[in-house]
Symmetry: C2
Subunit: 432 residues, 2 copies
């Protein structure tokens, strides 16, 4: 176990109970400051971490020489994205997180007693604008929840043969659009496009989507590149992963249904995706690794898991807030339900020699659980609109309406330790 | 007409007959120099153009103040990619091409008589290493050749209903992998993956692809970004396009066939794509705009073409060279066969508000013509391996074998003017 993950650690900074960001988390993000200078320099970007409600400026700590024992280039924490920092390698990320943990510990006074430094490097989270933390070169979306694939197959094909023949043999995936991945809080307009009216099969109409949906997902960020022709084994996969975020793969079901055969989803999904601003490191999640679902039939050798512990126990929630109303929790799922593990996903992705780059994002696909309240999309929760969601006050929803805000939250919890992810949220704006 | 396109123009530099790069072309590319200094600076990259066999260093011309009447930032031609140059906008690309045309004209002596300058800015094309000219953020592959879609549908579904119901209503497309787009000359290893053995339906085996294919395509480079939520009309589409390259979307048909339902191609294609190093500007192709195929049924209003001239008359050829043998031409097609025009492709891509960025690549999909010798893939040329290609000397090919080199060439020709694209070529190396 990493000593930074010790549940007994506490900080001289206050962390409220059930906060997502105790001293054991210390995720990485990017803050933008326009009114500057947070640093003694021009406005720009700064790599940051967070503990409780306190955002910590890593560029300031670096400038003040608090990372003196780590080989860090000048200005490494003043980039628009974390990619160059990630490119320094796993030993460096680990050293920075370890050092942050040291500096924030109750019994450490190096930073705690330096009032001038604190004034410059600590900000209240509500005063900080968090931006997309990585430059995403390529974005891949998997389809790795058996429950989700079964639900979709049951609805649109045959409940008795809900899974396609390939589904149990490989982690199905497709390439998505990187340009339209936005950070939490970036709202987007309801998309327009071609769709069929009910009862028609080949005369599309043009209009606003009437079946706008969310997809509850998580995503991992690539931390180590590969060269063309190189493959990553399931055993080595985690060495290539920097960390995790929450992810919402917004979908327009009617547009998607008309366009997707035979080459897959395109305009039904590429208008917007939302990711949470904090990348929780794989290291911080180590205490929550757990048994992955058994796989039957056996997978091909290149997909065999290094051990039975390939899943991560991460509670996931979806909250819906309609205009002027309170938030309502509409889904409770868990990342551990995933049939295909991240090791298998990455191994499959590279088995043909496809090269991956630092900052690439690999999303899980919708994470549905076994019970109806754990379904990770409106499509499944309302069974394609046939059983509308009833919200407090009697409001109904088949799909999302303008003004609806969807918030994804996630956290791991065990033995008094809680590692959270914050939020991935956005509001559906009316069509342009 | 742009005066740079006048067929009567000639240069003081020699251009061999039927060369792809007369003074009327002047495409853009990037050269890498490791042994430097071509400039009086450190080794690195330089934006270049070409006339005949002479590569022209734009950074040197800029340094020597030959672009003095154009607003160009310092160092703009010394970047690894053309993106920042493209970001200066269409008036700037046009001004640079126009100025190059002036400097190279027979009656202009500004550069011609400056022996010191010539020594520094002119290189023989065989001495220059050309690299990927743009940083590709997102790569989209369309499926816009009716003949190709009909051939594929006839082979794998029903010849009487070869086209899917959506095909005549929208330009079908999918997102591909940007990281594995390589410049011409970058060879790649035969991919491995899951596939079904003939006669089986659900017991995949693992191995090297036995159905490696090329796809004859062209691709356009985005020259002007859009914001999320913004759409580009068919009328404005070309303002967002910088230029064209040749493109080969290598495909492993057996891997693709097993994986692609329901989310589209993934490992069957993302191991490698090849693009030609020169981006021929849309302006240089203006004389070759021609009538696009009639569309029946009528398309939805947002897809209506601004006029009937939406196609480009570009001859396309595929040459195959097996180990130790001569090149053989195995396909002759034309870009004008495309059912969906580039204006329609871009308008469709953005109709849902999907944002596009400078450097994004939009490929056409396989460009097949009406006759069997114009089919743009081995799949079609050999009708899924059932009619092997017979090469000179009696060699046969169902799909590509190790050591095979595929070369795509393309050029427009009319009234004594020829605008060519050079080559997109690569050799299939044995599996890793």
């Amino acid at each position: 176990m990493f000593q930074e993950n010790n549940p007994a650690l506490t900080s001289w900074l206050d962390v409220p109970e059930n906060n997502d960001f105790p001293i054991q988390n210390l995720p990485f993000g990017i803050a933008k400051y326009e009114k500057g200078p947070l640093l003694s320099k021009r406005p720009g970007y700064q790599a940051v971490s967070i503990i409780g409600d306190n955002v910590i400026g890593l560029a300031v700590l670096h400038e003040l020489d608090y990372f003196r024992d780590i080989q860090l280039p000048e200005g490494i924490f003043e980039k628009e994205y974390l990619n160059e920092f990630i490119d320094l390698g796993q030993p460096v990320w680990r050293a920075v997180r370890k050092r942050l943990s040291e500096l924030l510990r109750k019994d450490n006074h190096e930073l705690c007693n330096n009032k001038e430094a604190l004034k410059r490097c600590l900000y209240n989270v509500h005063d900080v604008v968090l931006t997309l933390p990585v430059k995403i070169g390529d974005y891949t979306d998997f389809y790795s929840s058996r429950e989700h694939a079964t639900n979709v197959g049951s609805m649109f094909r045959d409940p008795k043969n809900a899974l396609m023949p390939n589904w149990l043999h490989l982690p199905v995936a497709y390439h998505g659009r990187a340009s339209s991945i936005f950070v939490s809080g970036a709202n987007f307009h309801r998309p327009k496009g071609q769709m069929l009216l009910p009862g028609t099969t080949d005369k599309p109409v043009f209009g606003e989507t009437k079946a706008l949906d969310f997809e509850l997902e998580m995503a991992f960020v690539i931390g180590k590149s590969t060269k063309p022709g190189e493959s990553v084994s399931t055993h080595d996969a985690r060495k290539h992963i920097f960390g995790f975020t929450l992810f919402n793969d917004w979908s327009a079901r009617d547009i998607q249904r008309w366009e997707y055969v035979p080459l897959g989803p395109f305009l039904g999904k590429n208008f917007a995706s939302t990711m949470s601003p904090w990348i929780v490191t794989l290291d911080a999640l180590e205490p929550f690794i757990t048994t992955a679902p058994k796989q039957e039939p056996d997978v091909l050798p290149y997909l065999r898991r290094p051990d039975s512990n390939g899943a991560f126990d991460i509670n996931l929630e979806v909250w819906l807030q309609t205009t002027g109303k309170e938030e309502t929790k509409i889904c409770m799922s868990n990342f551990k339900y995933m049939y295909w593990t991240i090791d298998q996903q990455l191994s499959h992705h590279t088995i043909n020699g496809c090269n991956i780059n630092i900052g690439d994002l690999m999303a899980s696909g919708t994470i549905s659980g076994p019970t109806p309240d754990s379904y990770g999309s409106m499509l499944e929760l309302t069974w394609n609109g046939s059983k509308p969601l009833i919200l407090p006050g009697g409001l109904q929803r088949k799909f999302l309406e303008d003004g609806d805000k969807v918030i994804i939250r996630g956290y791991s919890q065990k033995d008094g330790l809680r590692i959270g992810f914050g939020e991935a949220k956005a509001i559906v704006l009316p069509a342009v």
